[in-house]
Symmetry: C2
Subunit: 90 residues, 2 copies
C-alpha cells in the first residue's frame, strides 16, 4: 500500500535529518561536550555497516538514509573534537 511506503520514507527522513539540528546547535553554542563520544562512535560504525548493507541489498532508501546520517555524525564528531580543543584552554 502506497501509504506505508510514504510512512517509511517519512520515518527515514526524520531519523536522518534529525542530526542536522544537532550540528546547528553545536555551531551556535560552540559546545558539544554533553554529546557522548561513545554514542557517536557506535553510530559511526552502525551507519557505515547499514550503508554497506543497503548497497548490498540494492535498497536506495537504506543506503541513502545511512549515507547522509553517516556524514552528519562525522561532522558532529569533528565539531566536537574542534570545540573541545578550543575550549580546553579556558
Amino acid at each position: 500500500m502506497m501509504l506505508w511506503s510514504i510512512m517509511g520514507t517519512i520515518a527515514a527522513i526524520c531519523t536522518t535529518v534529525g542530526f542536522i539540528p544537532q550540528i546547528i546547535r553545536g555551531i551556535k553554542t560552540r559546545e558539544l561536550r554533553d554529546v557522548s563520544p561513545v554514542m557517536l562512535t557506535l553510530l559511526l560504525v552502525g551507519c557505515s555497516l547499514w550503508l554497506i548493507y543497503g548497497v548490498h541489498l540494492k535498497n536506495p532508501i537504506i543506503a541513502l538514509a545511512n549515507g547522509f546520517t553517516l556524514s552528519f555524525v562525522i561532522v558532529i564528531f569533528l565539531l566536537r573534537a574542534m570545540y573541545k580543543r578550543n575550549n580546553s584552554g579556558s
Copy 2:
C-alpha cells in the same frame, strides 16, 4: 548469504545501543544541555514511525531496533528536561 544478515544485525545493534552511552554520560555529568531537543524530537517521531512500519512489515529487526531506540530517546529527553529544570536555579 549468512554473513550479510550478521552484518545487518550488527549494524542494527550499533545504531540502537549507541544511545545507551548517551544516557550514561547524561546521568554521570547531570548535564544534557548540548544535546539538541529538535534532534530528539525528530528521532522520537522517526523511531515511532519506523516501529509502526516494522510491525506492519512483520519485520522483527526493524520493529525491535526502533522500539528500543525510541525508549532510549524518551529517557534522554526526560533526563534532559529534568537536568535543565534542576540546573536553571544555579
